[in-house]
Amino acid sequence: MLKLFSLKQKKQSAQEQTENKTSSNKTTAAELRLQKDISELDTGKTLSVYFPDKNNIVEFIVYCKPDEGIYKYGCFAFRFKIPPTYPHDPPKVKCETKVFHPNIDEEGNVCLNILREDWKPILSLNAILYGLQYLFLEPNPDDPLNKEAANLYRDNKAAFYAQVQRSMRESGAYYSR
């Protein structure tokens, strides 16, 4: 066991310091974790990731291009910001493409449980990517953020579908292929 006083160590005083290297406030553990999560992003065919600065991976954009369902042929941009407290705190995610969706509002706020109340450090960025894709395949009208969209989705699927198409055309979310 460690025995402090028996070590009789003379601690160097702060004045005697020679080397005066200031350290950064990022911890190795946090950086390694983010690097691992980023390099293992599972994008598949329907997602792509864009990094404005390869040396600053705490901010990036994920493009989500659903290949089936109501939002097929759309391309939706989500801006990810990774807080310094990641993975203790979840990434901040905003949708930058205007979309008519029960769980995404006009300002781009996204209602996805693991982005807020159900986030846990054992989850990774991939869990969020899967979550976002799932939102486009199965919108959830029971927990709406855009009430109008949710009601229409529940009451009149055809009208909802038409409204989605219109919103995708207006916002330029449609991508041709």
């Binding site: 006083f5 350290s23 911890t27 553990a29 390099s39 792509s48 706020n109 996204v110 209602c111 109340e117």
Partner: protein
């Protein structure tokens, strides 16, 4: 102050250090050396001079520690005065660390105490190196993680791979949240560290966005609605201005909007104070919790310095919410902990003329690492990412570059790979004759 009065204060210290006792650690031997060490040699750093910090400074100083430094970047706020008893009305606006140090110096004769009004992140390694013990009373997980990693980083190993115990600085970490608290003893590289069980920490309370937007039930929901949804929509203080919980106008705006919403949904209990609390994620501080947790921390510091009793092994939780409950248990070290894990940085010898692609090939062939598609960074700069595609594109220009253009001798590279449960640190050494084993 008369000599006699001072002598009387020390009586208890003599009693417990000059006699053996049933609870003493097995390697404890009564001696005057113990108090001499405590008075003349043992240097303690107290991190944070807030609710816990004030208690800690008082407890440590009255327990016989005479060489204390305290660091805090904050200034005294009027709302601190109810529990941070080293501060007075006239200290509002002054640096906490300096005011606290001056107060202790005035009250306890013969003490050598220094306050640093500074950010812990800005201090060099050498600052931390001079202490025998670090006691932390912090409120942020971030700062604790950083401190934990810094102290782990200071531990040196002997040539035979064993730990050089003279470089080990124990960290005693106290924390409180309302009526709940914890104290823990972290002996870097020897017992579980902060990072080993980071997942023990409960996440910050947050509410589902859809509840806030559509079905509020609590006053907190209304306040979150105003600050998370209405604020970005209306930008009441100019585009891009973020909510500042210390700006009374901001809090007032949110409070009023929250109240309108509460009236609409017939919810009671939205107040200005609660609004500020929700915006700043304030958990009410309870003075008694601070006192109990700080006492436990100071007690551990004294035990570690003198060995009059076995130290806490290694986590004490306290809950005063309904009755008084406390329990101590041992948290275990995580073998592959990214901060204190037993894997040392792997030394890699390379020729400076190798290309980055050569290095990656050597890493792939390494039978210990067993990596398939490694990604490498050096001090937050991207060297090569094997995935995702856009980062691969952006970094593959480095592949044909020679290593002496990309790296410096002795630098640490972060390696991650799907095959490694966590990342691994590599240390690069240049060697002219290094050959690739093909």
């Amino acid at each position: 102050m008369s000599q006699g009065k001072d002598e009387g204060k020390l009586e208890d210290l003599y009693l417990i250090t000059l006699r053996n006792g049933p609870f003493a650690h097995e390697s404890f031997s009564p001696s005057e050396d113990l108090l001499n060490f405590l008075w003349n040699e043992c240097k303690v750093l107290v991190v944070g001079a807030g609710g816990l910090g004030c208690e800690l400074l008082k407890d440590l100083a009255l327990s016989g520690f005479r060489n204390i430094e305290v660091i805090d970047l904050d200034v005294v706020d009027v709302t601190n005065l109810n529990r941070q008893f080293l501060f007075r009305q006239q200290d509002v606006g002054k640096p906490k660390a300096e005011v606290a140090a001056a107060f202790i110096a005035k009250r306890i004769s013969g003490i050598n105490i220094k306050g640093h009004h500074a950010n812990i992140y800005d201090q060099p390694r050498e600052f931390y190196k001079q202490f025998n013990l670090v006691v932390a009373g912090l409120d942020s997980i971030d700062a604790r993680r950083w401190l934990n990693e810094t102290l782990i980083d200071l531990v040196e190993t002997n040539d035979d791979g064993t730990i050089d115990v003279s470089t080990v600085i124990p960290l005693i970490d106290g924390g409180t949240e309302g009526f709940r608290g914890q104290a823990r003893v972290i002996i870097p590289k020897m017992s579980a560290c902060f990072e080993c069980n980071l997942d023990l920490f409960p996440p910050q309370i947050s509410y589902p966005l859809c509840t806030i937007a559509n079905t509020p039930r609590l006053p907190e929901h209304c306040i979150e609605y105003a600050s998370v949804i209405l604020w970005p929509q209306q930008q009441p203080f100019g585009a891009g201005t973020k909510v500042d919980g210390d700006n009374p106008e901001h809090v007032k705006w949110i409070f009023e909007r929250a109240q309108e919403r509460a009236n609409q949904f017939h919810i009671q209990g939205v107040t200005y104070r609660l609004s500020q609390g929700v915006i700043k994620h304030i958990i009410p501080a309870v003075a008694s919790t601070n006192a109990i947790v700080a006492a436990s921390c100071a007690n551990e510091a004294f035990k570690l310095a003198t060995y009059i009793a076995n130290p806490l092994n290694n986590y004490m939780l306290y809950n005063g919410e309904s009755g008084v409950y406390t329990y101590a248990f041992e948290t275990e070290r995580r073998e592959e902990c990214p901060a204190c894990g037993r894997a040392q940085p792997k030394k890699i010898c390379v020729s400076p003329k190798w290309t980055l692609a050569d290095l990656i090939e050597v890493l792939r062939e390494d039978t210990e690492l067993r990596v398939k598609s490694p990604s490498l960074t050096v001090s937050s700069r991207a060297l090569y990412y094997s995935s995702p595609a856009s980062l691969e594109q952006a970094t593959k220009e480095n592949l044909p570059q020679s290593l002496d253009c990309l790296l410096e001798e002795g630098c640490e590279i972060f390696l991650t790979d799907p095959a490694l449960p966590l990342g691994r640190k590599l240390q690069i050494f240049f060697h002219k004759c290094s050959k690739k084993n093909k």
